[in-house]
């Protein structure tokens, strides 16, 4: 695929918009929000990220990644016009068909906004199908917030309630958002659990402390969805790396309800 556009989200996080080099694939390629792919920097290898763009928009996919290891460092060095490899879409997706007509609560931390953003835009592109939309998004500091332009856009929309927060000490003098950890702000935002689903993604510690808050607000585990990440190589159930007990994250996931996660061995 060709990098059509590269955006620096933070000093170490980038978003690529990728377009297909084969017009036939561009025509037929489709995916669902929550699915992932394997992205190649030729010479360094492959990394697994979610598809961060909405499934409602055809002809391209976007991915957002943090420069952390060998492959993401090599990907970071690429720019618009360069070629990268993509395999996918793999895995399951957020069950948006089940969520039609319901109120949606999105909770994300740091780069965990990437898969959640795919769902948010998919929902906003077909806004009339869903009820209220509440978004709680936090990062360690103001400079760690990703998709800053889109946060502004969501903040300005009458049909979206957006809560932004940064960890204590991560604020700047002109920061207008909340200060505090994501679970605290979810409790403060107190979205109603009536006819609602919650969609979460963030660091394990954020998930761990947000789930009890959602329970307290009355969300049933079967109506809370998150996306797990495990180290993966093949993405298609053969390389033996991503099992959590009997579950293959690449095939049975990456999207699981809190109810399903509670049944899994705690090895992720």
């Amino acid at each position: 695929m060709t990098i059509a556009e590269a955006v620096d989200e933070t000093p170490d996080t980038r978003t690529f918009r990728l377009t297909f080099q084969d017009p036939a694939v561009a025509e037929t390629f489709a995916f669902e929000a929550g699915q992932f792919g394997e992205y190649s920097a030729f010479g360094a290898g492959e990394s697994t990220f979610c598809i961060a763009s909405p499934s409602t928009r055809r002809g391209y996919v976007e991915c957002t990644f943090k420069k952390a290891g060998k492959v993401t460092t090599a990907l970071s060095d690429l720019n618009a016009g360069d070629t990268i490899g993509f395999r996918g879409p793999y895995g399951n997706n957020f069950p948006l068909d089940k969520m039609e007509g319901a109120n949606l609560v999105f909770v994300a931390g740091g780069i965990g906004l990437a898969p959640v953003r795919s769902v948010i835009w998919t929902v906003l592109d077909e806004r009339e199908k869903y009820g209220d939309v509440t978004i709680v998004y936090g990062a360690r500091s103001v400079s760690d917030l990703v998709y800053k332009r889109e946060l502004e856009e969501w903040a300005g929309r009458a049909d979206v309630k957006l809560w932004q927060t940064v960890d204590p000490g991560g604020e700047t003098p002109d920061w207008k958002g909340e200060i505090g950890f994501v679970p605290t702000i979810v409790e403060k935002a107190a979205p109603s659990a009536d006819n609602a689903f919650a969609i979460l993604c963030g660091p394990p510690i954020m998930i761990k402390f947000t789930l009890p808050v959602l329970q307290k607000l009355g969300f049933q585990d079967s109506r809370v969805y998150t996306t797990l990440e495990n180290r993966m190589k093949c993405g298609i159930g053969k390389c033996g790396r991503c099992n959590i007990g009997p579950v293959y994250v690449c095939k049975d996931g990456p999207v699981f309800s809190a109810e399903e996660i509670a049944r899994l061995p705690q090895e992720f």
Binding site: T2, A44, G45, G81, T83, N230, R231, I236, C239, G240
Partner: protein, 339 residues
Amino acid sequence: MTKAITKEALTGLVAELTAAGVRVIAPAKAADGGTDYRAIFTLADAILGGEMPRRSLRAVFQPPTEAVFGWERKGTGIELTPAAAASQPQVVLGARPCDAAGVNVLDKVMGWDYKDDMWFARREATTIISLACAEMAPTCFCDKIGLSADATVGADVLLRPAGEGYTAEALTAKGEAFVSGHARWFSDEPVTADPAPPSREAFPLDKIEEWLEGHFEDALWADLGLRCLGCGACTSICPTCHCFDIVDETDGTAAGTRRRNWDTCQTGLFTVHTSGHNPRADQASRCRQRILHKFEIYPKRFEAVLCTGCGRCVQACPAGVIVPEILDSIAQRANGGAA
């Protein structure tokens, strides 16, 4: 259909195959004196019915390292050259029944949802002729996994020792075609095969699977983890272990090869995230994963245990982590006994 073949006829058959450009793979002596599955040119090179080859047949169908594709930078683009699919016809002669069974077990995951073309290209080009074992080594436990010294699963043709020669039973369409295609070497003389060594009672694999399901947390894992060195020897010689890594190798900066390499679940590197977080951070969880994958995860998904009782891991483990002993111990626990 069961036919017979003498050693002389088998010698002729191997000569005919190699002359026709068919690669014949059989247990044979390696340069260091050990026995491996290797390409042979005459039957005299093969050691039929000898000691267990050091590595299983997995390497015949999925080599320890193989190119997936080559890539080359062309301006801002990348040109990919897929690795050529293996197509040379080959015959495995004298496969251990446990090793043929292992290939059959792996077909399930390799064909799951997305067909692994590289695996199946080699499978299609290969005819497996197993040889029933005349005796069980002390480390063998195929019978306890539900196979036997003359198991047929995964083989196209099964030879059984019969005095100075063999009986030959075609088991699949491919096996039938092989026998009828080389009919002049096989005779219809009725020959009686030597009796196979008797099978012991199998492990209660269903009960073991059930126990594993309910005992993710158990003192057993800590015990194994303390003994295990995490060397991965067991996974490198197993007929059914199939975990792999995908890596890029570069030739300079403008070209390179993407390769698939065998990997092992027994090292911490296997599951460590870039962040440093590791879901299996200790040896106990890695030992548990190996046992779970073989006796709970795989059976649940594919209705087959990921083990053929070949006993190589029993021979290879430097730390006394012995699968049949572990299964015995789990079976006792499953039956309410202390182990």
